[in-house]
């Protein structure tokens, strides 16, 4: 038995069970231990609010029930304003992948160039350093004004937040190729093109993939906030909409789904890294 409790997943399960139990007790299994919602406010938000005397905070069972409903109708579509949660996730993913793909196409070649040409790096560095710390959401009004389209603006926001880690990691990977390998290239008298193709690029691949992995995480982070601001769809919009309906159980479901999709993206990139990066 001792062995069983030393396994990390057993402990995880116990912690989760303890968390659910505390949650269950706190939301009261019906006990009116929590402050009831102001009846005025309940009236304001209509029938979607909880019955008087009951906490707005759902119990674990409420969340499970609500998740079941949401997931069983995940890909339902009743008009443009009533989409299943699956569609919202799909819209968010499409925006993330769109902005991310553009960022990869721009940042990897540019990063390669500035990694190879220290003077270009020095010239561009001030701009990179100033723009990098800007929150991607700060671009939102400017993007909306420029593109006049919320979808394009969201994609631009994803592009702008993905581009920096990709650019910096690629440039670093290219400029920090081990001197030993460059000496090999010099001693063999390789041409510039052979050197870039067979030595610099393969040597930089692990760093480029690291940048890609950081970027996809950041992009998935940012899409939720971006959709809260501009969305007519997407998982961020969904959470904000459910908040307006005070559907807390739906919000919790969405949070868990966001976590799972983010984990999936990260695992995917980790697998690609394992396939493409060299081993030593």
């Amino acid at each position: 038995m001792k062995g069983l409790f030393e396994r990390p997943w057993v402990l995880s399960l116990l912690l989760f069970a303890a968390f659910v139990l505390v949650w269950h007790l706190a939301t009261g299994g019906g006990a009116a231990s929590q402050a009831p919602v102001d009846p005025e406010y309940a009236k304001l938000i209509g029938q979607s609010g909880p019955a008087q005397g009951q906490s707005a905070m759902p119990t674990p069972m409420d969340v499970v029930r609500r998740s079941g409903e949401l997931l069983s109708h995940a890909f339902d579509r009743h008009g443009t304003n009533d989409l299943g949660i699956g569609w919202h996730l799909a819209h968010s993913l499409a925006r993330v992948l769109g902005g991310y793909a553009i960022a990869v196409f721009v940042a990897v070649p540019l990063g390669f160039a500035i990694g190879l040409l220290p003077k270009l790096y020095a010239a561009l560095n001030p701009f990179i350093q100033v723009l990098k710390p800007v929150s991607p959401l700060a671009w939102m009004p400017l993007a909306l004004y420029t593109f006049k389209d919320s979808g394009a603006s969201a994609i631009f926001i994803i592009f702008i937040c993905s581009v920096w880690p990709l650019l910096i990691n690629t440039a670093f990977g290219v400029s920090a190729v081990r001197q030993d390998w460059l000496n090999v290239s010099r001693v063999l008298g390789l041409s510039v093109w052979t050197r870039i193709r067979h030595i610099v690029f393969p040597a930089a691949v692990p760093m480029i993939l690291t940048g890609m992995r950081i970027s996809i995480g950041t992009a998935w982070f940012v899409i939720v906030a971006a959709e809260m601001v501009v969305g007519q769809s997407g998982i961020g919009y969904f959470i904000w909409n459910e908040w307006n309906n005070l559907q807390i159980a739906s919000m919790i479901t969405a949070i868990v789904l966001i976590g799972l999709v983010g984990l999936g993206l990260d695992v995917l990139l980790a697998q690609i890294t394992r396939l493409l990066a060299f081993q030593e």
Binding site: D180, W181, N183, V184, R186, V187, L188, G189, L190, S191, T194, H198, I199, P202, A203, V205, F278, Q279, E280
Partner: protein, 266 residues
């Protein structure tokens, strides 16, 4: 085919954060075509610096180096280098590592099949035919260094430069690679310059041992000819009185004359 080497009044000054560092000072050295020379000295005495100068990877601050009377201005395929850390490209198989240089040097004149045969022959020379398809991380340290030697030999250099090639290997692997190197050099007969700090290795392999004083401002301390007939054989040599005498001379230079590092190079 082999080339002669000439080092004429070469000094190297590195700029460091603490100011200029005078690594080697006014070295003159003539190496005949086909000669096997070992550079011996304490760590940091500039022997690798001198080897890199001959390879063309560094340029001297003053003085000149010549390979067959031609000024050395950079690296070239006439001079093959075996690096201290094997320096194989980890994303290429052993075959591809060797083939990279073969394609570069002979690609313009020969067809693909002939190029493949060259690479295979180089790998056969170091007994690695069956490891050709493996990646460097899949083979042992000794095998990696063998691939490094094959890569250097495959481009048929006139000069072979080795920078402590066996320094990171265990004693048994090192001995077997020394024997292989002797066999290969006997066949192809290039000029060889090898950096080592192993006294036994130097006497076993070299026609001539050049001993360098401690840096900074390292220069050549002693330059002795090893008059032992070839082929040499390590067990027979161990009891040979000439071998013992050479060994004593080298050890005396390293540990009596150059033993105290503070007095070096003044």
């Amino acid at each position: 085919m082999s080339s002669s080497l000439k080092v004429k009044g070469v000094s190297v000054v590195f700029t460091t954060k603490k100011g200029p560092f005078h690594a080697i000072d006014k070295i003159d050295l003539d190496i005949a075509a086909g000669e096997f020379v070992c550079l011996v000295g304490h760590s940091g005495c500039g022997k690798s610096t001198l080897l890199n100068l001959i390879a063309g990877l560094n340029t001297p601050s003053t003085g000149e180096l010549y390979c067959d009377e031609r000024l050395i201005v950079g690296p070239g395929p006439d001079r093959g280098v075996v690096f201290q850390q094997h320096s194989l490209l980890p994303w290429m198989t052993c075959f591809e590592n060797v083939h990279l240089g073969v394609r570069r040097v002979f690609g313009a004149r020969e067809d693909a099949a002939a190029l493949r045969r060259r690479t295979e022959a180089a790998l056969n020379l170091v007994h690695l035919e069956e490891a050709a398809g493996k990646y460097p991380f899949e083979i042992s340290g000794g095998m990696k260094q063998r691939v490094g030697i094959a890569r250097a030999l495959a481009i048929e250099p006139r000069v072979l430069l080795l920078d402590e090639p066996f320094g990171a290997l265990d004693a048994l692997t090192r001995a077997s690679l020394q024997d292989e190197l002797m066999r290969i050099v006997e066949q192809a007969h290039p000029t060889v310059v090898m950096v080592t700090h192993d006294v036994d290795e130097a006497i076993l392999l070299a026609d001539r041992v050049v001993m360098m004083t401690n840096g900074p401002k390292a220069t050549i301390g002693e330059d002795i000819r090893i008059d032992l007939e070839r082929p040499r054989e390590r067990i027979g040599l161990a009891g040979d009185s000439r071998y013992v005498a050479y060994r004593k001379r080298l050890l005396e230079f390293l540990f009596l004359k150059q033993g105290v590092r503070d007095t070096a190079g003044i």
